[in-house]
């Protein structure tokens, strides 16, 4: 069982960057006005921030800006950063890894270890566990976890099941070795049998790009046309998975560490969609004021949704005092997990728009 705890690591700060361009789903003309209203009401996605197009802003650009801002606010010496992890499904290149590019661009020393990880909605909780694990040696003093995605460019406009959901964002989180820091507790899980519930079928090594077939638009249902280079999202499958797994995963973690939902000051879920998150909220009996949302204004921001929601919605609360946070990420893989952590006067930078 991947339930475990790490000590010695302090969560020092968090920041987020989003594109300036805003899209409103009430302008989504591919579906009828009636269906649009139902879509907005159910998914909760009113507006989204998206990059202007290919060859404009990448995930690493967003993460870079978020990291620069956070390091400035923390007043950290860049030479003390010994570890950088970048988690995304939208890397700059197939080869090489993006984390090394970010190490150089941020002006971090060669003594900094860098690592790319490919994960989506569960990225943040998984990334936290890797950061904490590597920092147990005690010789890694400070580290950065850069997490983000550009999902808007992967969807087909004529696919109502995916296009209106996603927003783009990049985030940075900072950690330092601190023997007096409270423990972080994890419960991480996976089920690869659902690998095709959220998938971009072509352009990986399994189905390499076919110059004709990969680009053909095919109909997959009413209002659903896409190519094999577009993101495919099996809404009902993902919905069933989330309802089945998320609440039990969180409850199991709480039971093992002997905590209750009431003891959490905030419960931050991956911003999947309003309907899913509300069912999970009710299952866990979390009051509305402890359950922040950004899905209405930023959309489903994949990897970035948890840190972005913390930076955007909990800035004032977390800056001032100590807080218990319960985080849960779930989705592509399928992969899911939760973490219990504490923050104390967390440095939370203002959201950057670019």
């Amino acid at each position: 069982m991947a339930i475990f705890s790490f000590h010695n690591v302090k969560f020092s700060g968090v920041s987020g960057a989003i594109p300036l361009k805003e899209i409103s789903n009430s302008d989504y003309k591919w579906i009828s006005a009636k269906e649009r209203d139902l879509l907005i009401k159910t998914t909760g996605v009113e507006k989204r921030r998206v990059v202007p197009g290919f060859r404009t802003i990448t995930t690493s650009d967003l993460c870079f800006s978020a990291a620069e801002k956070l390091l400035y606010d923390l007043k950290w010496d860049k030479n003390e950063i010994d570890l950088l992890i970048f988690i995304s499904q939208s890397r700059d290149y197939s080869i090489p890894q993006t984390s090394a590019i970010l190490q150089d661009r941020l002006g971090l020393p060669h003594s900094c270890m860098t690592l790319d990880i490919s994960l989506g909605c569960s990225a943040y909780v998984y990334g936290l566990s890797v950061i904490c694990g590597l920092m147990q040696s005690g010789t890694i003093r400070k580290s950065l976890l850069l997490v983000g995605d550009i999902s808007s460019l992967g969807t087909s406009y004529r696919d109502k099941s995916a296009y209106p959901l996603f927003g783009d964002a990049g985030t940075a989180s900072a950690f330092q070795y601190e023997p007096s820091a409270p423990a972080m507790h994890f419960n991480l899980m996976s089920d690869g049998s659902g690998y095709d519930a959220i998938i971009m079928p072509d352009a990986g090594m399994r189905n390499w790009i076919d110059r004709k077939k990969s680009f053909e638009y095919k109909k997959y249902g009413t209002g659903i046309y896409r190519t094999k280079l577009n993101l495919h999202l099996d809404g009902i499958k993902v919905f069933n998975f989330s309802l089945r797994e998320v609440a039990p995963n969180v409850k199991e973690l709480l039971k093992v560490i002997n905590k209750t939902v009431e003891e959490a000051d905030y419960v931050v879920l991956h911003q999947a969609n309003k309907l899913i998150n509300e069912v999970v909220r009710k299952k866990l009996k979390v009051p509305e004021d402890k359950f922040p949302y950004t899905i209405h204004k930023f959309g489903n921001t994949s990897c970035a949704s948890i840190p972005l929601t913390i930076a955007s919605e909990l800035q004032t609360a977390l800056r001032m005092k100590h807080a218990n946070l319960l985080l849960s990420g779930f989705g592509v893989g399928l992969s899911w997990g939760s973490v219990w952590m504490e923050t104390d006067k967390l440095v939370v930078s203002d959201i950057i728009e670019m």
Binding site: E35, I236, L243, R244, L275, V279
Partner: protein
């Protein structure tokens, strides 16, 4: 639990549905202007109210409201 109560919950959830119009032998797809989002709403309603999970296959194999109700009933403790 009975089918009338189930219908009442559906009426509360789907704003466009006229109360009293849905009967146990009604074809729910026709009455609810069926699409994938309405399917998600149905799944979440059944999960929240009965703590029962239905999937795409269950919905596909159901024609009437009663068909759906029977599947839910079979799976409640």
């Amino acid at each position: 639990m009975n089918v009338e109560e189930f219908i009442h919950k559906i009426e509360e959830e789907y704003e466009d549905l006229q109360p009293g119009k849905m009967k146990p032998d009604s074809e729910f797809r026709k009455l609810l202007d069926w699409n994938s989002i309405n399917a998600l709403i149905m799944i979440s309603l059944i999960d929240t109210e009965y703590d029962v999970q239905i999937n795409a296959d269950d919905i596909q194999k159901s024609i009437t409201v009663n068909d759906l109700f029977e599947k839910v009933k079979k799976r409640t403790g």
